[in-house]
Amino acid sequence: MRTIDSNCMIGPTTLNARGSEYTVADLVAELDVAGIDLALVYHSLSKEHDPATGNKMITEILEDQDRLKPVWVLLPESAGDFGPIDDTLELMMEEKVPMARVYPKQHNFSFSDWGCRALLDGLERSGMPLMIDLGQTSFDQVSAVCSSHPGLKLVLSDVAYRTDRFIYPLLEMHPNLHIETARYQTHRGIEAITGRFGATRLVFGSRVPELACGPMAMTIRYSRIGEGDREKILGGNMARLMEGVGWRD
């Protein structure tokens, strides 16, 4: 089973917190050092400028990168930014894009049925996984969307270490909810969730370049869980989530 980093970004950012642009070469070097095989990558311009522009860029930039798979950031079709979701999803399949992201807070729409029903319906129908940062939504919205779209493969990222009293009931209620692990630094939290909910609900991600591949992978690699469970979290679960959109590992 290969290790898959589900949460990577490249490209220039407005605040340049890193001091320089994080490039494909930077990412590949960091993956190599950390022993990570594959990465799902979106472009900073998809988040900080215009999703359509950034999505086109990441697809072109990663065209010859076997280890890096493009992730597109989507908008609801309500204001006319994007065309019908089924057309977008068809294009994603053609371009071998195995996951979508949304930034409702950044892009000013509601992560709810009234705010993006068609988008959520389309993702649910197609089997396309969706990743969203907690900072872009709320636990209440996540719960409502999981309820109204029980077939949606939702991966909640940006989940920090103080959140167990929120995410435990959500994991209990919503079998379609998954947690990306980069910011989930709860003491022995991976072990605790695996013990209670099984190993299928966690998906490894590093959140580079904001965070770092090696240290974030250590959270999983040093968890006191079985090797089979570790392999699921490090890559097997993400591979399974992407099977519906033609992923073959």
């Binding site: 270490y161 103080r162 709860t186 003491h187 939290g189 770092a212 090696g214 240290p215 250590m218 968890s223």
Partner: protein, 265 residues
């Protein structure tokens, strides 16, 4: 240093084959969120997985409402596990009459190696009178003072300790979190450059590129590995040193050798 293979070991999830001393940790439950495996045995589990030899603890209770009960727990812990835990005496300056008696109650106990301050939680300024008594007593007893710091905090911004450390040159100050974010880290480096008795801690849940910045600013001899465990998991915290683009010799200093010197191990 060839053959150290720290990153290769970490990629395989095996215990780190070097001296690792954790100079910033807590213990027990905390009011704000759920912490699995938060007792001594639970922490030893994490330490064993990573290869952490010994950890300096100050239980959450000691920085919260009952520092005396928390310090009792610390003493019990270092007595039960003398090879795995050392204790930091927690004091609460909002009970000024109890501060010095509490330090004196524990200072001679083997295994109690430091004094822990949390000016942010206690909402008490680093230059306040109760803390001044602590700084003097710490110097007399040769106990380092480990203190929470955060950029912009009126009570414990790193720049405040630049002044305090110059006032108390015989007292050793370990600035926990080194200011908390990347701007705070720069402030902490500047404070440490002004006083040789200021040391910097690597813990923080968002600062995963801090170690190279600290190393470039201060060298390796006054930077110490702290995990903040079990407030957060120690694995990624140790990882930020292991994967930092700095020499292996510096990593060994930061992971454990500096901690041994500071705590007299």
């Amino acid at each position: 240093m060839a053959g150290l293979k720290l990153m290769e070991t970490a990629n395989r999830g095996l215990p780190i084959q070097a001296t690792v001393i954790d100079t910033h940790a807590h213990m027990g439950p905390y009011w704000n969120f759920h912490i699995p495996f938060n007792d001594a045995e639970g922490m030893i589990g994490s330490m064993d997985s990573l290869g952490i030899r010994s950890t300096l603890v100050c239980p959450h209770l000691s920085i919260g409402p009952d520092f005396r009960a928390g310090n009792d727990l610390t003493l019990q812990t270092v007595t039960r596990f003398p090879d795995r835990f050392m204790g930091a005496i927690g004091i609460n300056p909002n009970y000024p009459d109890l501060v010095l008696p509490e330090i004196r109650r524990f200072a001679d106990e083997p295994g109690m190696r430091a004094i822990k301050l949390h000016p942010s939680l206690h909402n008490y300024p680093a230059g306040g009178d109760a803390y001044r008594e602590v700084y003097e007593e710490a110097a007399r007893r040769n106990l380092p003072v480990t203190t929470h710091t955060w950029r912009g905090d009126k009570n414990c911004a790193p720049s405040i300790y630049a002044e305090v450390a110059l006032e108390y040159p015989e007292t050793v100050f370990l600035l926990i979190h080194s200011g908390g974010d990347m701007n705070g880290i720069q402030e902490a480096i500047e404070s440490a450059r002004k006083s040789d008795n200021v040391y910097l801690d690597t813990s923080g849940s968002t600062t995963f590129h801090m170690v190279e910045r600290l190393y470039r600013g201060l060298g390796s001899k006054r930077i110490l590995f702290g995990s903040d465990s079990p407030f957060i998991d120690p694995a990624a915290q140790l990882g930020k040193i292991i994967y930092a683009p700095i020499p292996d010799e510096a990593k060994l200093d930061i992971m454990g050798l500096n901690g041994m010197k500071l705590l007299g191990i």
